[in-house]
Symmetry: C2
Subunit: 521 residues, 2 copies
């Protein structure tokens, strides 16, 4: 039994996504990197971890085997290395350096809720910490538990359990990956409409556990808004939630499990709202004089409608980078660009709002370019790292009135912290609400001698700027280990204590994703 | 200092709402009651509680006075009696019988968050249980704590603290009543759009604590969907939530506080999403052949749109009752009626969906009748009780595919349990979602010798039917003491334990609304 025999192919260890989708940098981009002072580094020695097994005892291995069967407990180094950390830039840099800390002792592949429940019930007794594995696409250290652990990979929980056409709900097992979910629903004429950048790799359970938000969020909502029910296996037993779409029977406990990132247990199935598959789609670009003008236009759609399905707005720097291939540093071609998309008929009323707000319709060309490349950005990071660039993203959300100041403060913090390797800071808005929106930043600069330390210092400065300007530490990446401290500051010590009380009740031995989400006492 | 010197007039003790809005039953209704076998009872002796003070010690009173000032601690019997229980039918029957159990020992009127926080911080030390008071409009025993208590009436927290026109958010203190909130927002050109049946009495904090849902929920959403931030005072300190409209930073803790019904602490302010006040409104009636056909039409609007602001559908019995004045028992005038309403321009596309689904537009007449009487139903209960009728409501929600079976099961349970006094069971749908809807039942029959026991037995049968048919125990009334057991069954023992863990952390001495929401261990 090896990884490749399992139902879904693993993402390439240490490089993003499907290997067949890997991209090369265009010559112009390489030229631009040179002008940013970025040098192709000396080729590092290829580092692979020593071929050794995990550190589980015979009794521990026997327990795992007793639950899932021996062919579904892998402790070879390749399987373990392939489940080491996620896909933040610091994760990739440490992967490249052969840093085997955070490597699980084994990877276990349960096939059902009952097997997951049995694993968790028995894990505490056998002193096994457990990290749930969705697609490994965390970019916030969500897989870097604070002590040795086994990874529970849910890819065998890959079924559509139920589809209720009257209620328009589907019950999906947690291990169903994004494309598989769409394929299962498409057979019946439906779509979930959830298309995050991690779409190719992440799974339903991961979307739920990390409060994912997709590129069509303006039309379909965030993943947490699609969830009407879920099943959670915890070390203390199973919780099933969602008797009705909405209820006044106490707190909404679904919203306590959503975003819990494996700290309380493992989500094994999710009931989601589904919609009929659209028979047509339209994407187009719009140009505005500057970010402030476009921000007003986007806010108008978010507050007064009609909202399209996709609504994205790049700032001046990101617009220049997007446009200026083959000259990414050639400066702005003038103004900023937005992308709008419709699942279903084109809505002229949306276009009229943008026109009234000063927008110029650029037609389907830029929309099609965006659509084709919509999952490409993270693939570009690997060759950029190869070339000696440091490239990473971070994101936040706040209320509309705070957006300009927050954007300026985060940009200033990043430029200041990276002054030794002057960065390019790109920003876009891709998720909007009536009362506010997300801000997504991309940073590119030359790698310093210690690029991990370099980024951590820049990220700390950005985090402080976000906190000071009134943003949340994450709109859709989550908390993981990387945002744990900032998150605790954001919600305050008493709210942290309340969450710790829940964790202690459900996970009294602290075996669930220890050190993720919440500080350890 | 008396109640009447305080900023907002109290609802009439023991009778619903503003005394100036009290209604008499029309002669035809009295005639119909006779035909239901309902006899006007012998006039009971007017029962008023003995004029005695509460049972607080001098030290306890001194503590309360030290926080809010002596003029804001009332322990006269009138003030305490006016804060006794809520407005369920069993509450009213016990009020009429002079049952002084559940009467608070004092009523305290803090003026600020800091005073509320000081009250809660000190209450545990002084062995004082605390019941937060919104408008006293609970119909699920939300004010019937399990041991002696003081009531904290928030009516002096009556300010609009902030209005952010760019973000379209307003920060309201928890004691602002519905009409006052609308008046404060109207001065600036905005509306909250929350119009529950309790609108005239309940306050912002109560809406939040009990997950209220208003008559315009199709257009404006439920109250919990309007909340973007809140401040909670607990015995252990203050929690402030809502850094952004939406976030992936952990569980959504706002949704843990919403619906907590005072069991964790007292909500002192809420940040709500606001919208521009509509410049026009339209209401109209629609007729369908039967409930099933109309249900399909309503579901079509909920799933594919366009939704109106108000969407209500009465079943055959409720339609007959609504129409048949002066002959409420004259039987159905044919089919069922729905009401739709628009805040803003009339949307022909909505009407087209209803027409395509077999509906007949009855024009503005029935709409206007509904609008004028929209807060009148609970006023009718008092004269009906006077006449010897037992009248009460209950409600639930479920997914669309389960609605017909759930409706039939609850009706059957009520008819069966009340077979000695054959009831009329009315039903309507007034809150819709893509995946399901609420069901609201009204029951009218003759009072038995012990009407409290009579209703409790019928309600128990209905609760069981709801549980068996897969509904939630409450869509918008809440849990209180009345639904505590059914709620525990609905979410299961492990979820109850998790909530208890939160309560124990925030309220270690169990002083907050003890016995409400959660069972006492």
């Amino acid at each position: 039994m090896t990884e490749s025999d399992l139902p879904v192919a693993q993402l390439t260890p240490g490089r993003w996504g499907d290997p067949s989708h890997a991209v090369d940098l265009p010559a112009a981009a390489l030229d631009a990197l040179k002008r940013l002072g970025i040098q192709h580094p000396a080729e590092p020695a290829a580092v692979t971890p020593a071929s050794e097994g995990g550190e589980l005892s015979a009794v521990q291995l026997a327990f795992l085997t007793s639950v899932v069967g021996s062919q579904y407990v892998l402790s070879d180094v390749d399987s373990r290395w392939a489940h080491t950390r996620g896909y933040s830039t610091t994760d990739l840099l440490r992967f490249r350096a052969g840093d085997t800390s955070d490597m699980p002792d084994a990877v276990v592949y349960p096939a059902s809720h009952d097997e997951v429940q049995a694993l968790l019930t028995g894990a505490a007794e056998h002193d096994l910490a457990v990290v749930p594995y969705s697609g490994g696409t965390s970019v916030v250290g969500g897989l870097a538990a604070s002590r040795r652990f086994v990874t529970v990979d849910l890819r065998r929980l890959d079924r559509l359990i139920d589809l209720d056409e009257i209620s328009r709900t589907a019950t999906l097992q947690a291990g169903v990956r994004g494309p598989a979910a769409e394929a299962l629903l498409a057979e019946r004429g439906y779509t979930l409409g959830h298309f995050p950048q991690s779409y190719e790799g992440a799974s339903i359970g991961g979307y739920a556990a990390a409060r994912s938000s997709g590129q069509s969020s303006a039309g379909y909502g965030r993943f947490d808004q699609m969830v009407v029910g879920l099943t959670l296996a915890t070390p203390r037993g199973t919780i099933e939630l969602g008797r009705a779409p909405m209820s006044a029977a106490g707190p909404d406990l679904r919203q306590l499990v959503l975003g819990s990132e494996g700290a309380f247990g493992i989500i094994t199935s999710v009931v989601v709202r589904i919609r009929p598959r659209p028979t047509e789609r339209h994407f187009e670009g719009w140009q505005f004089e500057n970010f402030d003008a476009a921000l007003t236009a986007v806010r108008r759609l978010a507050q007064d409608g009609p909202l399209p399905t996709v609504l994205r707005l790049s700032d001046e720097v990101e617009t220049a980078v997007n446009l200026a291939d083959p000259d990414v540093l050639g400066g702005s071609a003038g103004g900023v660009q937005a992308i709008i998309g419709f699942d279903g008929p084109y809505d002229q009323a949306t276009a009229d709002v943008l026109t009234a707000a000063g927008g110029t319709n650029l037609g389907a060309g830029p929309g099609e370019t965006w659509r084709v490349g919509r999952y490409r950005a993270p693939y570009l990071r690997d060759p950029l790292l190869d070339e000696g660039a440091l490239v990473e993203t971070l994101e936040t959300a706040t209320f509309w009135s705070r957006i300009p100041a927050l954007k300026a403060a985060v940009t200033e913090a990043l430029v200041g912290a990276l002054s030794a390797t002057p960065p390019l800071v790109l920003c876009h808005i891709s998720h909007v609400y009536e009362t506010g929106a997300s801000l997504y930043f991309t940073v590119v600069c030359a790698q310093a001698d210690d690029p991990v330390a370099q980024w951590r210092s820049a990220k700390a400065a950005a985090n402080q700027a976000i906190a000071d300007a009134g943003g949340t530490i994450s709109h859709h990446h989550g908390v993981g280990a990387d945002h744990r401290a900032a998150y605790a500051t954001e919600i305050g010590p008493l709210a942290v204590d309340a969450l710790q009380a829940v964790k202690k009740l459900l996970d009294p031995n602290n075996i669930m994703n220890p050190g993720i989400l919440l500080p350890e006492s």
